[in-house]
């Protein structure tokens, strides 16, 4: 039987040597709804080390929850503490005044710290095509930046089809559809949109993966359109990593999903 280095690593709990692994969907800090052990940037980096993950792109829970200002400062401080390991999303809560949002973007722009944006239409209860997101999309379009949005099947606030319509209007912006594998309905919708638009990318974040779902997504949307995401520390990163390592896919496809696609999208250096 042919050796499968990736599957063997999963079975043995070994960090993969020489492979670029980037987690495109991370958070940080405590969360009101449940206990999150070791939720600091240090606690996350320790876990990345155990799993052989090079970097994660993070939006703190404070930012997707009540205070994007607090969360953005938290993740920038984390990047300062762990450069190259924690990559910041700038998160925007569209419920706050346009002047505040523009000032927040201007602040981080002035410091040269904006690499990507994160939005959570569900938690902020705001449609992704609403005017509150306008300043962010304006900036993302101008600077050709990626935007990760929380998404779900049947999501009227930030569903894959809605994100895809925005992607058609903003070809310079790469839209990452969060939780694109969370159900077969979501997979169908997200893969259809990823096939239709070059700038729609599918994020695998979720607590479990349906049997042979990743293989189906690669077949339909292509390995170059899918990125590894875990939700760490909202969810541990091990299951999200393990299901890619154990997938019935060629090594080349796994490398793209594990890190090469994210490296391209977020313009990150190699190992």
């Amino acid at each position: 039987m042919a050796t499968d280095t990736f599957l063997d690593a999963c079975r043995l709990g070994q960090a993969l040597a020489g492979e670029l692994i980037i987690d495109a969907h991370a958070h940080m800090g405590p969360w009101h709804n449940f206990h999150v052990p070791h939720n600091s940037a240090r606690g996350m980096v320790e876990r990345l080390d155990q799993l052989g993950i090079d970097a994660c792109v993070a939006s703190p829970h404070a930012a997707i929850g009540p205070c994007h200002l607090q969360g953005n400062r938290q993740v920038m401080a984390a990047e300062d503490e762990f450069p190259g390991r924690i990559i910041p999303y700038v998160t925007i809560n569209p419920n706050y005044p346009e002047a505040e949002i523009r000032a927040e973007i201007e602040h981080w722009h002035g410091l040269g710290r904006i690499r990507a944006f994160k939005i959570h239409p569900a938690l902020h209860n705001y449609r992704v095509n609403g005017p509150g997101y306008g300043p962010m999309f304006e900036y993302a379009r101008e600077h050709s930046l990626p935007v990760l949005s929380h998404s779900w099947a049947g999501d009227s606030l930030g569903g894959a089809s809605l994100l895809s319509r925005l992607a058609a209007e903003m070809p310079s912006v790469t839209f990452l559809v969060g939780h694109a594998a969370s159900s077969w309905d979501m997979i169908e919708e997200a893969c259809r949109e990823a096939q239709a638009r070059d700038n729609v990318i599918l994020d695998l974040t979720g607590s479990q993966l349906l049997y042979l779902a990743l293989e189906a997504m690669v077949e339909r949307a292509g390995a170059e359109k899918i990125v590894f995401g875990s939700d760490i520390p909202f969810i541990d990163a091990a299951p999200g990593l393990g299901r890619i390592l154990a997938a019935r896919l060629p090594d080349d496809a796994k490398r793209r999903v594990l890190g090469l696609n994210a490296q391209r999208i977020f313009r990150l250096p190699g190992r």
Partner: protein, 248 residues
């Protein structure tokens, strides 16, 4: 580190009401997947026990896994009052003799998970040291709390609890030593390590939910845990082997 000896507490076979084209429906398919993933044994229930009729499902299960020494039967329990299954003591003894377990589907099978409804069955299962499994979608934490209080010697494995459960689970673990969690879906950040440090590696068992979910994620939860090999072996399979009385 040598490979862990995985014993899956949550696998199924059988023709389901709403199968996906890729679902494994039979023993051969399940065994092939277990071989590929590196899973040594599995506790298996038959879909018919959940979706059609427990007695029909039990018969199909024994027929289909018969002679396959890597698979162990998981039967469905029902309230004794309707007499659809053998009397509790007989049923529990039969399950024990087969080194099997019993899974409860109170929502799907439409009965109350309380003492009036299935207390006698749980007494018998407890007496025969038969582990009981229940998916969190089929119950709730108040019911689990009451059940553990009434049956302190019963081994209860909660399946598909996901990652929001520590504030519900930890208080129970402080009181009940016979509560176990399927860690395949647990998903709490560094949660397996936190549970082991606080309560010991004896509280967790490995489960995949094959063929609905894939096995690599649940395996990685165990293999990548920052634990000793002995602790990982307990979670991977040692705890379930002990509960079922399966020889090492």
């Amino acid at each position: 580190m040598p490979e862990l000896r995985f014993f899956d507490c949550n696998a199924r076979i059988g023709r389901a009401s709403t199968p996906r084209p890729e679902h494994l429906l039979d023993v051969a398919g399940l065994l092939a997947e277990m071989d590929r993933a590196g899973i040594e044994r599995a506790l298996v229930h038959h879909v018919w026990s959940a979706e059609w009729d427990p007695p029909e499902g039990h018969a199909a299960l024994l027929r289909e896994i018969g002679g396959e020494d890597r698979l162990y039967p998981c039967f469905a329990g029902l309230p004794p009052a309707t007499r659809e299954l053998p009397p509790p003591r007989d049923f529990a003894r039969q399950v024990r003799d087969l080194r099997g377990a019993v899974r409860l589907f109170p929502v799907q099978h439409n009965y109350l998970l309380n003492e009036v409804s299935i207390g006698h069955l749980l007494d018998a299962l407890s007496f025969e040291r038969v582990p009981v499994l229940i998916d969190l979608a089929q119950t709730n934490w108040p019911e689990i709390t009451a059940l553990l209080g009434h049956h302190p010697a019963l081994s209860l494995i909660v399946l598909n609890a996901y990652y929001r459960v520590d504030r519900l689970l930890y208080p129970l673990w402080e009181r009940f030593g016979n509560l176990y969690l399927d860690c395949g879906s647990y998903g709490v950040h560094r949660g397996v390590e936190a549970v082991c440090a606080r309560f010991g590696a004896e509280r967790l068992v490995f489960g995949t939910d094959l063929p609905v979910h894939e096995a690599g994620g649940p395996m990685a939860v165990v293999t990548y845990a920052a634990l000793s090999e002995a602790e990982k072996q307990l979670i991977a399979g040692g705890n379930l082997r002990r509960m079922l009385g399966v020889e090492d």
